[in-house]
């Protein structure tokens, strides 16, 4: 009797556990993807019809249809990568927000870096030149000016002084 009670209690507990688990797993398998799930993928795609508008923000019929496809594929259990590959196969690389890293597309990634690095090198060299040139300039200023270099200046001052003298007399 005691054994029977124990067994029925065990069965009851198992049944409760099973009921608790089943709806969860059923929901996980057949659950409809949310708008957020769809948009998480849609924002990485661009429809060629509406250039420069990501799919999650585009309101045209074509984009609505595309989002419908993403929803259907997610419901079927497709992964994000599989869905993106499907879109590339159907509509080409240009649907991707980030061009795939291959072939000519590498330019998109490399050129800005090269320009940035080149600019850095030019700046560095420029600063270095300034550093080396500056002391020479200072030394020129400090060193006694030669009589030859002052000659035009002296002439100019003499002329100004003469002019002033004339005016004060007049």
């Amino acid at each position: 009797m005691k054994n029977q009670l124990k067994r029925s209690r065990w069965l009851f507990t198992s049944l409760i556990l099973l009921i608790a688990i089943l709806p969860g797993s059923a929901a996980a398998q057949g659950s409809d993807p949310t708008d957020d799930d769809v948009n998480a993928i849609a924002k990485q795609l661009y429809c060629p019809v509406c250039e420069n508008i990501p799919l999650d923000a585009c309101g045209t019929t074509a984009c609505e249809q595309w989002r419908g496809i993403i929803r259907d594929k997610l419901s079927e259990g497709w992964t994000e990568e599989q869905i993106k590959t499907y879109f590339v196969d159907q509509y080409g690389d240009r649907v991707l927000a980030e061009p795939p890293r291959r072939g000519f597309n590498w330019l998109v990634y490399i050129v800005p870096l090269v320009i940035f690095a080149g600019g850095g090198v030019l700046l560095y060299r420029g600063f270095q030149q300034w550093r080396t040139v500056k002391p020479e300039n200072n030394s020129r200023k400090v060193s006694k000016p030669s009589a030859k270099s002052d000659k035009p200046m002296d002439e100019y001052i003499n002329r100004v002084e003469e002019e002033l003298r004339k005016r004060s007399k007049g």
Binding site: Q65, I69, V88, Q90, Y91
Partner: protein, 174 residues
Amino acid sequence: MKKLLTWVGLFGGLVLLLLVLGVGLRRSQQGQVGIGEMAPDFELVTFSGETYRLSDYQGSVVLVNFWASWCDACKPEARDLEAAHKYYQPRGDVLFLGVDYVDTEPEALAYLEEFQITYPNGPDLRTKISQAFRIRGVPETFVIDQEGIITHVQIGPFSSLEDIKSTIDPLLDL
């Protein structure tokens, strides 16, 4: 010498970059392939799985129509195109091909059923055909003569069956 090489390298890089940008810009600003030009060859796999290669139809007049189910402007000409296809079908030397641009298959098939279109239609996979013809939108239609030369470019829909026939009849000496 080292300094000169650096400058030559920088200048070369800049010229290369400008060249790439220029080519890209030129391509993006080019219009459709025009009248008198050789039509780009392409392969269309229809929704029912048949393959059509344009170059296989030298000797025939080929009408290539770009459309999409989401395109409202494509709808008015859909029935006229089907009527024109039926009109020329008995001759056997005029081929109509529908290229479905940036579309989804269920909606495209529903469109074909709605307008009872029977001539070959297929998706423009990876938008290769539309890029080759450099279309700017849909509908756009290209009429190609027996030598593969484009003789008519229709931007926007045809207005009537007669409008379509007026682009094909002269090629058939009608």
